[in-house]
Symmetry: C2
Subunit: 296 residues, 2 copies
């Protein structure tokens, strides 16, 4: 929804993304105007039930009020879950209470500790973990990991060994087949491995830090903030942000498949230098832009 | 900045306008994304010191937080005055305190009573009054009136009567000339009338009401909300809004020079019917659109 940073512009709104898996939508950060972009990009709001806020700087969360107002106006009834540092509830509640009708839906705040690696959300398809970062306020990134799927049955082998249907569920989960006589067929002969799980890592505002590398290793896509280009590395350090070159270093060390740069400072009209310096280290890099949609 | 209503769209952001007189800028309402539009339309923020909020529905005020954050980031030091119903301070302060640096500027809240006609702001060039309206929460419009200017000296007469320079200030303000011998020259022989004062009336969310007519009479421009077209008059009544036809009736009865319709419901993609029905009653009507700029 937004690829900009603190000062939003026409082309780069405040930070906000929507991650979708099997029809469920998960929002990551919610800067000003996120709801306008959701409407513009025709994102279906019906199964958007969980919002993850990386930190409480205004460019990452002040769109919540507008989004919540709009969801209420559209007649939403189901809970909306917001995962954020504890203070969010305190600062947004007065407005929330004032603007909400009594009969609208509940906003449920889930406190997260951004300084600690932890699974903060789980459903059948997905697991979300915090990735501690180094910024001026408590901040974390998020790792979106598919839940491990089941192994695939080899139909011909299942038939050849005459495996009863009631055993198939356990076999798909990795069990060997054992018949009444104690005859064992190892799982490896009956199944092929489950699909590899897909991972998306979202690295919000942070000073360059290699502490995240283990957690984001092998991710299919790494979104990494790059507020500055490397010529402004000193400014990045002072404000606890990262340069495009540094983000590419992280991508290479973590051996991710693809890097997306974003959270660009409004000072740069031309974004090409971000891409150029990142690609010098990590070739499979693209630039975020408002409205960018990727499938993997 | 925004010509839409509760549900903002790509083309019609939430309500927000900027009025400019002699280099000073005054903001009227501040819906979500107002700061993005200010940037997009290159509105100079340096002399934007006063913001008038018509009522505390989210689409008229939730852009304040983003705007204030941005002004702080741009290094603003001078006070920002916000004129609004008293509750605004209460609901926005927690966020304001949380996001603001200690060394940023002061936001000064001025409580207004939307149910009462009153001059709420005055400077050398301008006077702003509240216009009580009928909506679901305490709501007012605003009348922007130039201060009465000075009369124009007739240079040839000033010379002919040899009027001393020290008397000119009083004469421009309407005084007669009286010399030491008590000889009187009436002001009308020395001056021509001051320029007529210009008036802009902003009518925010309201049920059709003729009570405003006296106050907005003869305005150069009347902005009047028209959330609905007249086919949806019942819906307008239920939600305490106005139709385009009704807004045109007000414009005609108040004998204003020009009518601008705005605050369109997101349900209408095509805005032409608004214009058509208004023009059937009041010819000099135009439709507001984001980015519209008028000089008068």
């Amino acid at each position: 929804m937004g690829s900009g940073s603190a000062l939003p512009t026409k082309n780069n709104f405040h930070a906000s993304q929507v991650f979708e898996l099997r029809g469920r939508r998960y929002m990551i950060d919610c800067g000003e105007g996120a709801q306008i972009k959701l409407n513009q990009y025709k994102v279906n709001l019906s199964r958007l039930d969980n919002i993850f806020i990386s930190h409480l700087h205004s460019d990452h969360c002040i769109g919540l009020m507008g989004l919540i107002s709009t969801l209420a106006m559209l007649g939403r009834k189901t809970d909306l879950n917001i995962y954020a540092y504890k203070d969010l509830k305190e600062i947004i509640s007065p407005m929330l209470k004032y603007f909400s009708d009594d009969d609208s839906f509940n906003v449920v705040f889930h406190d997260i500790n951004p300084n600690q690696k932890a699974v903060i959300y789980e459903d059948k398809g997905l697991k979300v973990s915090t990735i501690p970062l180094k910024h001026r306020v408590p901040t974390c990134g998020f790792l979106f990991e598919e839940q491990q799927g089941e192994r695939h049955l080899i139909k011909s082998m299942i038939e050849a060994f005459d495996i009863p249907i009631k055993d198939l569920k356990a076999i798909k989960q990795g069990a060997d087949s054992v018949d009444k006589e104690g005859f064992i067929v190892p799982n490896e002969r009956l199944t092929t491995p489950a699909d590899p799980i897909r991972k998306y890592a979202y690295i919000s505002d942070t000073l360059y830090t290699e502490k995240i590398i283990n957690q984001i290793a092998e991710a299919d896509i790494l979104f990494h903030e790059s507020t500055f280009v490397d010529d402004d590395r000193q400014r990045a350090k002072e404000t606890l942000h990262t340069t495009a070159l540094q983000a590419a270093q992280i991508a290479r060390k973590a051996n991710v498949k693809q890097l997306i740069l974003g959270h660009f400072s409004a000072r740069y009209r031309d974004k090409k230098p971000f891409l150029k310096e990142a690609k010098s280290i990590f070739e499979n890099t693209i630039l975020a832009e408002d409205g960018l949609q990727l499938e993997f």
